[in-house]
């Protein structure tokens, strides 16, 4: 077989192939359910019902989608510039640490204005965490994939140390968790009686801002140019390394907001299970959205729905909940293949 480039792929090809990838994912879901001895249609129905079948379920999905929108945006921004930030998990925890540290310490009792400042400083912490690997890349040519991945493990150990030492909750009954944020320092709910906090609205605003930055500003143009072809970008006078550093600051900051919103909006404290891999799942969210910031909102809700729906399906149908992770990994690979095939035609000979 041979691949032949397609100069101007038709719209049907650009949309049809990703749709086909999602269809194939449903097929994988059916096969896995059958393998687990359950009725595929019943399993798919239960996932759908568990994700969006009631007001409670839908709100649970939106709550779960909130950190995924942030990490999805973080990955989308970075990958667009071909900066392989696989460390959103570490940046998320950096944001969470700063949030707890300030909201229970120096800025305790300052209310929502204080929390706005906390958000800014949390972003700064996430940005700095990614700045390290990016400086190593631009200065020494160290591949950022491995360094950002290794930082995730280092950061989790730092969190573990903080929770057993300096940030341990004295009233925590020995559990490794931090002191909780007081009421006044939590993000309020979007509406009275609605189990959805302001972090979700913040995520939507972030998506629109990132879209505006990418589509309408010089920096956005430079990021895309660097991602498309760094040599050509440099030739056109774009300062490649400074653009990469700015991309990293933005990406790390966005990922940190996921930690901020989980602590201040949902959990109220820091613990080692704050993120069940939101940083890694952000990669799937971003790829499924074809790295489009507004698309990230929809794919984050879709991915969150699969997780929430699979949890409730698992209790009812007995298919292991890890089916969600398998589906999303398959969706990622199928989507990458679909995107590849929009630009190349397979010729058999």
């Amino acid at each position: 077989m041979r691949l032949e480039p397609i100069a101007n792929p038709a719209l049907t090809r650009r949309l049809g192939l990703p749709a086909l990838a999602l269809g194939a994912t449903v097929l994988v879901a059916s096969l896995l359910s059958a393998l687990a001895g359950a009725d595929p249609f019943a399993v798919l129905g239960l996932i759908l019902k568990g994700a969006a079948g009631s007001k409670f379920a839908a709100l649970e999905t939106l709550n779960r989608a909130t950190p995924l929108i942030f990490t999805g945006l973080a990955v989308a921004v970075a990958f667009r510039a071909k900066l392989w930030n696989i460390g959103a998990e570490a940046q998320l925890y950096a944001g969470a640490i700063v949030t707890v540290f300030l909201a229970t310490g120096l800025l305790a009792g300052t209310g929502l204005w204080g929390m706005a400042l906390v958000a800014a400083l949390a972003m700064l912490a996430g940005a700095l965490v990614l700045l390290g690997p990016v400086m190593l890349k631009t200065r020494f040519g160290v591949d950022e994939v491995v360094t950002t991945l290794l930082f995730n493990f280092i950061m989790l150990l730092i969190v573990s140390w903080l929770l057993e030492g300096p940030m341990k909750d004295p009233a925590g009954m020995g559990w490794p968790k931090s002191e909780p944020l007081e009421r006044a320092m939590r993000l309020p709910r979007l509406a009275e009686g609605l189990r959805l906090h302001w972090g979700f609205a913040l995520a939507l605003i972030a998506a629109v801002l990132v879209w505006f930055l990418q589509a309408r500003t010089t920096l956005g143009y430079e990021m895309r140019a660097v991602g498309h072809n760094p040599r050509a970008a440099a030739f056109a006078g774009i300062p490649v390394n400074p653009v990469l550093v700015r991309t990293a600051l933005l990406s790390g900051g966005l990922a940190a907001l996921a930690g901020y919103s989980e602590v201040a909006g949902l959990k109220g404290h820091l613990s080692l299970d704050l993120s069940p891999g939101f940083g890694y799942t952000g990669i799937i969210v971003a790829m499924l959205a074809l790295l489009h910031p507004l698309g990230v909102v929809f794919t984050a809700i879709f991915v969150a729905g699969i997780f929430v729906g699979s949890d409730s399906m698992s209790r009812a149908a007995g298919v292991p909940t890890y089916i969600a992770d398998m589906l999303l990994a398959s969706a990622l690979l199928l989507m990458v293949l679909a995107i590849g095939l929009t630009r190349y035609r397979v010729v058999w000979k």
Partner: protein
């Protein structure tokens, strides 16, 4: 200071270092083969998980220990085939495909684990490989207990590294493989298939990564735990760079790294461990890997066509 010498002069310390190095050697050799042929395989972390799981499950179901090793290898090769198909003939992003394969292999292991053992709270144990004392050699003081009283899988790890070095540098196949990673067009001009060489390298390499994972369940821990691979795959990628893409240097890197790991475990028991939190010791391997990458990245000879997809007729 004397505490350090007390540790460094015991046979058990060096035996532990060699034991810790063994899975890293398998997986590092696997990654090295892939990268010498021009393909970065970020599926390594997940492939080690599926190797650890499938090898252990096969033994639990009665396949015998070597049966477990073969099962792990085949499972790894299967995911290697998936990785190779997407990255070589289709030329898709090696970063994204690799991470996707890691996620898929990991979740497949966890899904299968829960499917086969729905109710258990702690995973069943198996009877792992026992140390085999090589006659006469194991009686040498210090050296004997450290080097020649290991499990068969450890001896296999070193044999595997020697075999990889032999094939890469002393056979026509190795020459073609290295050329596929340096100058694929030249390989094609010789009438050889770049696609075939690269796919073969990724499949075989993935098989070795899976055996590295199986070492954890079949020789080190005798049971399968979630997150037991714990970043070892990523560390192996750093070791390939540290070893400048050469098998011998990579083995030395793995040994050095394992010695540090064995040392930090023992230092936790000393007075230093009373003062410094244990998390700082556990961090050492990851920090060491990053430092290794910084030191070596300047002078390392990266295969020229690493991560460059080869499309016939394209320049």
């Amino acid at each position: 200071m004397s505490a350090l010498w007390d540790i460094l002069l015991t046979a058990s310390f060096w035996a532990a270092a060699i034991r810790i190095a063994s899975p890293l050697i398998f997986a590092t050799m696997g990654e090295l083969i892939c990268e010498r042929a021009g393909v970065l395989n970020l599926g390594i972390e997940g492939i080690m998980v599926i190797g650890a799981f499938s090898g252990w499950m096969a033994v639990y179901m009665g396949a015998g220990l070597w049966g477990g090793v073969v099962t792990a290898m085949l499972a790894g090769m299967l995911f290697g085939l998936l990785h190779a198909t997407l990255t070589v003939p289709f030329g898709l992003s090696q970063h994204v495909v690799g991470l996707g394969v890691t996620l898929l292999a990991t979740s497949t292991s966890y899904f299968a684990y829960r499917l086969i053992l729905p109710e258990v709270t702690s995973p069943p144990r198996i009877e792992p490989f026992q140390p085999y004392e090589i006659p006469y050699l194991s009686e040498i003081p210090l050296l004997g207990p450290a080097l020649f009283s290991q499990t068969p899988l450890t001896y296999a790890a070193f044999a595997c590294a020697a075999l990889v070095a032999l094939v890469l540098y002393r056979t026509p196949l190795g020459l073609a493989l290295r050329a596929a990673g340096e100058s694929p067009a030249a390989v094609a001009a010789q009438g050889l298939s770049v696609t075939g060489l690269r796919m073969g390298a990724v499949i075989v390499g993935s098989g070795l990564m899976a055996v590295g994972g199986a070492f954890l369940t079949l020789s080190a821990f005798s049971s399968f735990f979630f997150e037991m691979v714990n970043g070892r795959g990523w560390i192996c990628i750093a070791l390939v760079v540290f070893g400048a893409w050469r098998p011998g240097k990579a083995v030395l890197g793995a040994l050095l790294f394992a010695a540090f790991d064995a040392l930090q475990i023992r230092l936790q028991q000393t007075p230093i461990g009373q003062v410094v939190p244990y998390q700082m010791f556990l961090m050492a391997p990851y920090i060491l890997s990053i430092l290794a990458l910084i030191v070596m990245s300047r002078r390392a000879e990266v295969p020229a066509a690493l991560m460059v997809p080869y499309r016939k007729g394209e320049r």
